[in-house]
């Protein structure tokens, strides 16, 4: 925002190479240092806010005892069991909505209602229906993910360019070939954006569902440590979940760059 001709110190700082990274880094380090000082010296009760040193120790303990790994595996399994079918069902539903006006008119309002409602409100019901075990978590994940994937697939397909379809038709392509070779690849970037949205919703969904009621998983651990009033462990677990989310989104972006390198221009 160089409105004034003369450059202030701030302007010059913010225009340095990699300014975003190192100013952000410094800011985080300062925050962590202040937190450490306040927590470790009990300026504020450390059982309420913990502090980085304690959190690091807790992370080490949780990881080395194998407790974290085992529970993370449970959560990951539930997540995968819900998310994989959600991708398939979401794309098929989205295709159906895009290609059939009747299907769209009949069911899109139901879908939009599902999308706007807070998903977490369904969890108690899902537990009644599917039990306290893994199934209800997988179903929660599925429901959280399927809607944005379907909605984005519909959008993507409806934005398919007529010229792609025309080119294939001219070579005598069948309806199936047109869907597989023109419509789906053309919609891929928008479907990918839907997957990103879905991942965020699904992660929060699976964790909250485990926190609500479960026998194992990261959400269960959060619940256990919170009743025990252990702030440090909660920070570790929250960090782990966020890290997983970041990793998923990062992987998805890599995948997107491979699947849709042509989009770089658009």
């Amino acid at each position: 925002m160089a409105i004034n001709a003369s450059k202030s110190l701030g302007d010059r700082l913010s225009e340095a190479p990699n300014a975003r990274t190192w100013i952000g880094g410094v800011s985080v380090v300062l925050f962590l240092a202040a937190w450490q000082v306040i927590g470790a010296n009990e300026i504020v009760r450390s059982d309420l806010i913990s502090y980085p040193g304690e959190i690091a120790a807790a992370a080490y303990d949780l990881a080395s005892s194998g407790e974290l790994g085992a529970n993370a595996l449970t959560t990951l399994r539930e997540f995968a069991q819900g998310f994989a079918p959600a991708i398939l069902a979401g794309i098929l539903l989205g295709l159906g909505f895009a290609l059939s006006r009747l299907a769209r008119s009949l069911f899109e309002p139901l879908f939009v209602a599902m999308y706007t409602a807070p998903l977490i409100a369904f969890v108690p019901l899902l537990v009644v229906w599917f039990g306290v075990g893994s199934t209800s978590k997988a179903v929660t994940t599925f429901l959280a993910a399927v809607v944005p994937i379907a909605i984005n697939t519909t959008t993507g397909v409806r934005e398919t360019q007529e010229s792609w379809v025309r080119a294939l038709r001219a070579f005598g392509a069948t309806r199936g070939q047109i869907i597989v070779k023109a419509i789906l690849p053309g919609a891929m970037p928008i479907i990918m954006a839907g997957l990103r949205l879905a991942i965020g919703r699904a992660i929060v969904g699976v964790i909250a569902a485990e926190m609500y009621v479960s026998t194992s998983g990261v959400g269960r651990m959060i619940q256990t440590y919170s009743t025990a009033g252990r702030a440090a462990e909660i920070f570790v677990l929250v960090g782990e979940v966020s890290g997983f989310g970041f990793m998923c989104v990062w992987l998805l972006r890599r995948l997107e760059n491979r699947l849709a390198p042509w989009r770089a221009r658009a």
Binding site: R166, A170, W262, A264
Partner: protein
């Protein structure tokens, strides 16, 4: 040998709510010899692209038939390959994969279709760009991909719908020259729609002139310029005679369509 016959082809769009039916093409007749290069010119909106789409079966005619080698055609197929004005390449496919698409749709095995695609990519001079994506190419290069794609399925007839219309004047001339080189090598039957008079003369064995809307064929002109033709031929006196003839024909049509449009606007038609 007569290869492609168009008989009494007519396309009428049904009336939109509260409007009149629209006649896009009225009784088009045309016979094309095997190996002939035919260009179609006419004022814009005369239905010359429509005619091409009907021959390709991308549009369905209200009346009339299209026969290829004596057999009536009903569905789009690789026997009539199209080259589009907007290129219509698939942006997520490389040049190679774009050229392969026609063969891929016919389930030609990978290795074979790759060989064929490479041959035609080489023919249009893009061997160095096989792995590029369409957005990395210039307009002229993109249309070369479009031409290679159409040739790769070894069509009976090549249908070209203002293929150089989106390119600037110089590239257009070069592309025309290259197209002639390719055509002289394998003598495909070509139907080439354009609104550029020079292009129509320069390329053609025969020029089909269409009337203003509703379109029909009003004149056919044989072009008896020697082949192979170079760019220099455009400045020859013979070329000029063709140019003048065509220009006069088309001017009449444009005037006719202009007065028609004016009459329509004032509502006294």
């Amino acid at each position: 040998m007569t290869q492609l016959v168009v008989e009494n082809l007519r396309l009428e769009y049904p009336a939109a709510r509260g409007g009149k039916p629209y006649l896009a093409l009225s009784e088009a007749n045309l016979a094309v010899e095997s190996g002939e290069f035919v260009t179609i010119v006419g004022p814009s909106g005369c239905g010359k692209s429509t005619l091409l789409m009907l021959i390709a079966s991308l549009l369905r005619a209200t009346n009339g038939t299209v026969k290829l080698n004596g057999k009536e055609v009903a569905a789009p197929g690789p026997d009539r390959a199209l080259v589009f004005q907007d290129f219509a390449l698939l942006p997520w496919r490389t040049v190679l994969k774009n050229v392969e698409i026609g063969l891929e749709l016919q389930r030609v095995p990978v290795a074979r279709r790759r060989d064929i695609a490479r041959k035609y990519i080489e023919m249009v001079g893009l061997s160095a760009f096989e792995m590029h994506y369409p957005h990395q190419l210039s307009g002229g290069m993109r249309q070369r991909v479009g031409i290679a794609r159409a040739l790769s399925v070894d069509p009976e007839v090549l249908l070209m719908d203002e293929p150089f219309g989106a390119l600037d004047a110089q590239i257009r001339q070069v592309m025309g020259l290259e197209l002639l080189h390719i055509w002289e090598r394998d003598r495909k039957t070509i139907l080439f729609v354009t609104h550029d008079i020079d292009e129509a003369i320069y390329l053609a064995d025969r020029i089909v002139v269409m009337s203003a809307s509703p379109g029909r064929v009003i004149r056919e002109i044989k072009v008896e310029l020697p082949r192979p033709r170079g760019l220099a031929i455009r400045t020859s006196p013979e070329f000029n005679i063709y140019r003048e003839t065509l220009w006069n024909l088309l001017e009449e049509q444009v005037r006719a369509s202009g007065s028609w449009a004016a009459a329509k606007a004032t509502g006294d038609r």
